[in-house]
């Protein structure tokens, strides 16, 4: 089969729709992950979701329910207890290890073939069904709509918490709202790129955008485009050349960040020379 025929198969098309939906949510939420310096929380939530998925498989449910329950639960805990930057790292770390411990227990109790947990770890982008696509699209739409609705207050609370609190915003509420959005995005992204790589779509595109742009709105657009670009191109390269899709996506996203940093540094030096 030629590349073009492969691209027209239903499983590649479903994968295409799914990564599109994920990239849209990851672009918006990822910008706030970078802004709030919560990459560790984003990383942790993915791993916590893994424990939830293992638990769901153990009691015979679809992994997505376990993912939802654990990611949202952990998001709430981190959002409530980790409002202060001072204890956030510790709260995230303890929540993460507690959940991973449970995950180990669930896997050891599960006697069946561990294929489901394996696909949670590394994603199963080419095994996405039509109903998965609908679920992913619906969750992404919720995330994108909600994020745009809370955009200004969330931005304010993220860039100047004290003054936002003085203006009557609850910084803790915004922290919970953000962690819930992050948890939903993680659930969606895990379906596609897996726990280990969920991070790549959340952090690298947004971090590149933060370096390259001057306005928050523009940064979100650039982050979304970067996420879309890496996942579309990654999917195409995997079909064309071979190799895991998630490898291509993470590779492209990280390279993009590297290029963004280098070009920003060069531009900075250019400005200094000119001045």
């Amino acid at each position: 089969m030629s590349v073009w025929q492969l691209l027209q198969t239903s499983f590649v098309q479903n994968a295409f729709y799914a990564v599109t939906a994920v990239s849209l949510a990851a672009g918006v939420v990822g910008y706030f992950v970078v802004l709030r310096r919560q990459a560790f929380a984003a990383h942790a939530i993915g791993h916590i979701g893994f424990a939830g998925a293992a638990g769901a498989v153990l009691i015979g449910l679809s992994p997505v329910w376990g993912l939802l329950a654990f990611c949202l639960g952990a998001g709430l805990v981190i959002g409530v207890a980790g409002t202060d930057l001072d204890d956030r790292d510790a709260v995230v770390g303890v929540t993460l290890t507690a959940a991973l411990g449970l995950g180990v227990l669930f896997i050891s109790l599960y006697s069946g073939y561990a294929n489901a947990t394996y696909s949670i770890l590394f994603g199963q982008i080419l095994g996405v069904s039509v109903s998965d696509v609908w679920l992913v699209a619906a969750l992404s739409a919720v995330v994108v709509l909600a994020s745009s609705g809370v955009f200004r207050p969330l931005l304010f609370a993220s860039v100047d918490g004290q003054s936002a609190a003085a203006r009557g915003l609850s910084v803790r509420t915004m922290s919970i709202v953000f962690m819930s959005l992050l948890a939903l995005t993680t659930v969606v992204a895990i379906q596609i790129v897996g726990v280990l790589l969920v991070f790549s779509l959340l952090v690298a595109p947004a971090a590149s955008a933060e370096v390259l742009t001057r306005h928050p709105g523009r940064a979100v657009v650039v982050a979304t485009l970067a996420a879309l670009g890496s996942s579309w191109l990654g999917l195409f390269l995997a079909v064309w050349i071979g190799g895991p899709v998630s490898f291509w996506i993470t590779g492209l996203a990280s390279t993009l960040y590297l290029v963004a940093r280098v070009s920003a540094a060069l531009r900075e030096r250019g400005r200094r020379v000119a001045a």
Binding site: P153, D160, G161, Q162, A166, E210, A264
Partner: protein, 278 residues
């Protein structure tokens, strides 16, 4: 404020604090690190509640989100960002607390006016990260004054600035007071850069608060009584005050000292010495 008292995690920060700040005047809040100067501002803006006494802000109980009160916090995460310009930051002061998708029509105009008043228009479209400390403080002042507040609370607006930039910010604070007629409360480390514009001094130390005109508070009798040991004030030929005797306060932290973070007494002494002799 009448007989105000604030406790944080069960310990009193200060008590029996009574003072008034009139509109159109500038009050500077002085005192050692950790004495509760910022806490005083936070109580006025409604971020910290009084555990005793009464406090009236522009005729009402203090509450967060009062548009008549402008507040500038000491440190802001925004300052390290590339993807946020000064104009964006000032704009958040205007509608940052509003949820939803609706944009307000007069935002551009209001933000422009605040930028104009604080002289920050020339660099308003650069990322905050690339600006100097003085430029960031100007933008923070624009952010705090976007609603033309009747009461302006500034937490350490001079911290980390060189002498020239300090003088510029002091002039700007004075200008804002003159043009808006607001009451201004400024937390500061050093009285001297502000001395020529100050109408009132509020001194916070040893869990006590003293308030009054500059010469009534910053004199040897009042400060000696407040600290419980002799304090001398030397006025230099150019009118700057050097306060001698406060080194003691830092070199031998009293047992109920509110700031336990400064372990290195010598380092701290040097810092304070530097500050008073400047």
């Amino acid at each position: 404020m009448r007989d105000g008292r604030v406790d944080l995690s069960g310990r009193p920060i200060w008590q029996d604090a009574s003072f008034d700040v009139e509109s159109g005047t500038i009050a500077v809040i002085l005192g050692p690190n950790g004495a509760g100067k910022s806490t005083l501002l936070k109580s006025v803006v409604g971020l910290v509640g009084l555990s005793a006494g009464t406090l009236e802000v522009l005729g009402d109980a203090p509450r967060r989100g009062d548009a008549r009160v402008g507040y500038m916090a000491q440190s802001r995460e925004a300052d390290s960002l590339t993807s946020l310009t000064g104009r964006d930051y000032v704009g958040l002061g205007y509608d940052g607390r509003r949820f939803g998708w609706r944009r307000s029509r007069d935002k551009v105009e209001v933000v422009e006016r605040a930028l104009e008043l604080t002289g920050s228009r020339p660099f308003a479209d650069q990322p905050l990260r690339t600006l100097s400390g003085g430029q960031r403080q100007r933008l923070a002042l624009a952010h705090a004054t976007v609603f033309r507040p009747e009461l302006l609370l500034l937490d350490e607006p001079l911290a980390g600035l060189d002498i020239a930039a300090q003088a510029e910010i002091v002039d700007l604070i004075n200008l804002i007071r003159d043009t808006t007629g607001a009451a201004v409360m400024v937390v500061a480390h050093d009285l001297n850069p502000l001395a020529h514009v100050v109408d009132q001094v509020i001194w916070v130390a040893r869990r006590q608060v003293r308030s009054g005109p500059l010469d009534e508070v910053v004199n040897e009798t009042t400060l000696s009584a407040l600290y419980g040991h002799p304090i001398e004030i030397i006025v230099t030929p150019r009118g700057r005050r050097v306060i001698v005797g406060l080194e003691e306060e830092f070199a031998h932290p009293h047992p109920h000292g509110t700031d336990h973070r400064h372990e290195d007494v010598h380092e701290h002494f040097a810092e304070v010495y530097d500050e008073v002799t400047r």
